[in-house]
Symmetry: C2
């Protein structure tokens, strides 16, 4: 349906091809909307091949999601040399840029448009906790209080869902969006500082 013949590929190449297909497919159709037979047909391979590479239906979905979250984590790495304010802005800007480019799959993922259970949420949470750690590290905070962690976590949720809503609404003028995200961090910073003193 998609490929030409059942050409024999190397394991790695086939795997990458199937994951790329998975992103497109799940972004459009979601999880469990189609049977594995139908998915395999659309991908141009046999059902057995999908099971061979990913174990089961969920495995295919999970690996696809992981390929996205890993990419987000890699792209939002803040530059090491710059001072906090600049590095922070770069991080936010890169995140918004990524969502803008990959809005189909990522916005759907954040907004729960795709099937998201405990296991999927663990992958999304890895993005959030990684971002938290980077911020805390840059600020030199080694042992944040419970409230501090909740504050940062809440802010990360704000930019995630704000971005998702933004792309859904057309995705115009990212600069003002970024400015708002940064200003929204101010109350968080205040919590961090007051908690740090005590």
């Amino acid at each position: 349906m998609m490929d030409l013949g059942p050409r024999r590929m190397t394991t790695e190449a086939r795997r990458e091809q199937l994951l790329a297909f998975g992103r497109r497919h799940f972004a459009e159709h979601g999880y469990e909307a189609m049977s594995m037979d139908a998915i395999a047909d659309r991908a141009g391979v046999s059902k057995g091949l999908l099971y061979h590479y990913f174990g089961n239906q969920r495995g295919f979905y999970m690996e696809t999601v992981r390929s996205v979250t890993d990419e987000v984590i890699a792209i939002t790495e803040p530059p090491a040399e710059q001072p906090f304010d600049q590095a922070f802005r770069v991080m936010v800007t890169c995140f918004v840029g990524y969502v803008q480019e990959h809005s189909a799959i990522y916005a759907a993922l954040v907004r729960g448009g795709l099937g998201s259970d405990t296991e999927v949420n663990e992958l999304l949470d890895r993005v959030r906790t990684t971002t938290m750690s980077r911020i805390l590290e840059r600020l030199g905070i080694r042992r944040p209080s419970a409230l501090s962690q909740i504050a940062i976590y809440g802010w990360v949720s704000l930019i995630e869902n704000g971005c998702a809503e933004w792309t859904a609404a057309g995705g115009a003028s990212p600069s003002r969006l970024i400015d708002f995200f940064i200003s929204a961090f101010e109350p968080v910073l205040e919590v961090l500082q007051s908690e740090q003193r005590s």
Copy 2:
């Protein structure tokens, strides 16, 4: 397994009983972790009865989720007589209180611990958009800009996920949490005011 005999109940009473069971069951086991046969067995009724009341497996799950989101919307209605600041605080406080009491089901829902696809997210979004409308109405803003809506939406996501993280971390000292949520609204308010002028 749960009930005594297959006593014949009124339609409404049976429905309420099954929904109450659904909350407990899905909070603990999630969606699609068990077959309908197993769920019916645990509920102490036949599988056919579940299908009779809710149409299909997803129907049972969706109705259960809806019973929760409807309750959240009802409980977070801000008092009409008081000025904005006070009404706003009451609303936030009620929300935190609800999450604290029903943390098992609601935190799981927000954090994606339960299966959440497009349809489920529509129900969760109804909570968010209702909160947005209430805030805008109280502030007398009739036609908010796109950025204004995104800002409020992001803030609502912040308190939702912040609460979920808070209960997961033990759920102590809600007053400081509430104070943070209210202070986190300040940047949103600035956006609303500046957008309103233009």
